[in-house]
Amino acid sequence: MTPQEKARQTRERKKREEEERRIQEEKEREQELLNLVAKKQAFYILESELDGLYDEMDKLAKKAPNEPTTPLQLKIVNNFIKKAKHLMSSDTIIDEVEVFVPAGDNPEYRDIVTVLRQIRQGLQRFKTNNRYIFSKDFDSDLSDWEFDEEPPDFFADMNKPQDGTTE
């Protein structure tokens, strides 16, 4: 191979590697944006769910604060708490919120309202700490892209069973 041919091959190889790098970076950026979209959608889902749930529990707490919740209400509340904790996993206050374990005695409405209020405030903090995804800049960045796939379900891997530790 002549030195010119070698140099030409090297140039082509570098060009190819750059192109591959560019495509890889684009894919990563696309995935990042899709994940942010998923996060934003998850926020709106929780916000909407919280509106209805809080109003309902607050009404019941005002009527009968000491009354225990029904099993169905408790299931809905616990599912909501799990989703909220999954979304706001870096929020130390929400991290301390726990699901209710009835063990024969369902929690009272007033306790449910207290927890929902904490989550409501957590969502406000979440919006402040993630200004970018709620800003026009994000919408503008999104408009520059043509996505091949839908944003993932943010809560999809939430219920994967933990293995626990053997020894």
């Binding site: 024969g104 626990g164 020894e167």
Partner: protein, 476 residues
């Protein structure tokens, strides 16, 4: 009061055991409430309740056949002096059901076709239809009809607590269901040193001061059904004698018991409505605690003694039996009436002797009922390890024992809770098994906390429920 343990110099106290410690000189002021047999989750207690009804059905058959003499004979029961319960102020000899009361019962049914056709859903209903029958006679009748059941229970308790049994002790007037007749016999039983007569133990959890179904409680139903308030000017109003208490405006005069009983026996719908209500509220029917077990000073003293014994025990095989015995007493003291009738047992797993205590779950509060429904826990197993360091196989041993027979909730008890091995292993078992198994872990420190709660008359259920919740949250 001369309690059996003091008289026989036995190192167990009332707080440690599941049965009423007989006062050998005077009856304890409590009675057997058959309703507590009915509402018990234990099959043998429910079977005992079934036997009571079977007995009464037999009596009613003889009334239907017109053989009133035989019906009366069947109903005559002496006061069962062997059990040492009742309302006698002095001594242990009460009245039982004599010929007059037996006659009254038989004729009540004979004179009421509605009642004869209906029968009894609970024998305590006799209080509401026969004026001469009160709580004491219900208890006496129950004790006599179920004497064989109480004999079996007594023998079991003596075995559990190593109490002395004397062979061939005469027992009079027990009911033989095969021959449907009263019999006398000889059984291995403990003996009352004051009288040389037999002693029968009664489970604390079937005793109440007043039965759940009782006359005073029924009166409200009766008044709602049959009595209406009358105004002061009404001619229907009874005239009060001078010096007698004046009736409040609109309040009917209290009906005497014979009238109430007569009206009730002719109008069984009201009786049924009352019984339906009481059965619906069965979860609230709880045994009456002995007054000695409500005395905070005495409970605290006993708790301190148990704590001292626990602190003095060394870890290891040498004190393993003492540890089992002490934990048995602590758990009985703390968990009665939620967990009762703890039986120590030994089994072998891969060449290792494992000591358990198996308690019956009475399902008295929501948490214990939740365990029954969610984990099939008719029993609760406590596996005892007289050591500090728990290894993985210790947790595996109790896990293999849990299942459909023993339930899927169990408690490991060891001297300390050092390290994370126990928690990690229990978490692994929870996640691996289907259906899930939950194992909690108590240490000496937790037993001391339970003793403090119990001696302050607090309910230890909350402690275990909180422990359970913490475990479930920590594995989320």
């Amino acid at each position: 009061m001369a309690l059996l343990n003091k008289v026989l110099n036995i190192p167990i106290r009332q707080e440690d055991v599941d049965f009423v410690m007989p006062d050998v000189d005077v009856d304890r002021r409590l009675g057997i409430d058959p309703f507590l047999l009915y509402r018990s989750p234990r099959p043998d207690f429910q079977q005992a309740h079934g036997l009571l009804l079977k007995f009464f059905r037999g009596v009613l058959e003889t009334v239907k056949e017109g053989n009133l003499e035989r019906a009366q004979h069947l109903l005559i029961c002496p006061e069962p002096g062997e059990i040492g319960l009742g309302y006698t102020k002095h001594g242990t000899a009460g009245s039982g059901i004599g010929p007059e009361i037996a006659r009254e019962i038989a004729y009540t049914f004979k004179n009421s076709p509605a009642l004869l056709a209906r029968g009894l859903r609970h024998i305590e209903e006799l209080q509401l239809i026969c004026p001469g029958v009160g709580p004491d006679r219900i208890s006496d009748l129950t004790a006599n009809v179920l004497k064989l059941f109480l004999i079996g229970y007594t023998q079991e308790q003596c075995k559990s607590w190593s109490l002395p049994l004397t062979k061939d002790v005469p027992i009079s007037h027990y009911f033989d269901f095969d021959e449907f007749a009263w019999r006398d016999g000889y059984f291995a039983l403990p003996v009352n040193p004051s009288t040389d007569g037999p002693l029968l133990f009664v489970p604390r959890r079937i005793l109440r001061i007043l039965p759940w179904i009782n006359y005073d409680d029924y009166l409200g139903e009766y008044k709602r059904a049959f009595l209406k308030p009358v105004s002061r000017s009404s001619s229907l109003r009874l005239k009060t004698r001078s010096g007698a208490k004046k009736q409040e405006e609109g309040e009917p005069a209290p009906a005497p018991k014979p009238i109430v009983c007569k009206v009730t026996s002719q109008n069984t719908a009201t009786l049924d409505a009352y019984i339906d209500r009481k059965e619906k509220d069965a979860a609230s029917a709880e045994p009456s605690e002995l007054s000695a077990l409500q005395d905070r000073a005495k409970l605290k003293e006993h708790a301190e003694l148990l704590k001292q014994e626990l602190a003095a025990l060394r870890t290891g095989n040498e004190d393993a039996y003492k540890y089992q015995d002490l934990v048995h007493r602590i758990l009985t003291f703390c968990f009665h009436p939620h967990l009762t009738d703890g039986k120590p047992q030994e089994r072998t797993h891969a060449g290792t002797i494992i000591r358990d205590l198996v308690f019956t779950n009475e399902g008295t509060r929501n948490f214990w009922r939740y365990l029954m429904q969610s984990y099939v826990n008719m029993f609760v197993v406590f596996e005892l390890k007289n050591k500090n360091e728990i290894i993985g196989s210790d947790v595996d041993q109790i896990a293999t024992y849990l299942g459909d027979t023993m339930g899927r909730f169990g408690i490991l008890v060891s001297r300390t809770l050092e390290g994370s091995t126990s928690f990690n292993r229990r978490k692994y078992i929870f996640n691996k098994e289907a259906p899930r198994k939950v194992i909690l872990h108590l240490s000496d420190k937790n037993l001391v906390e339970l003793l403090d709660l119990r001696s302050a008359l607090a309910d230890v259920t909350d402690f275990i429920q909180t422990l359970y919740r913490k475990f479930m949250i920590s594995i989320e």
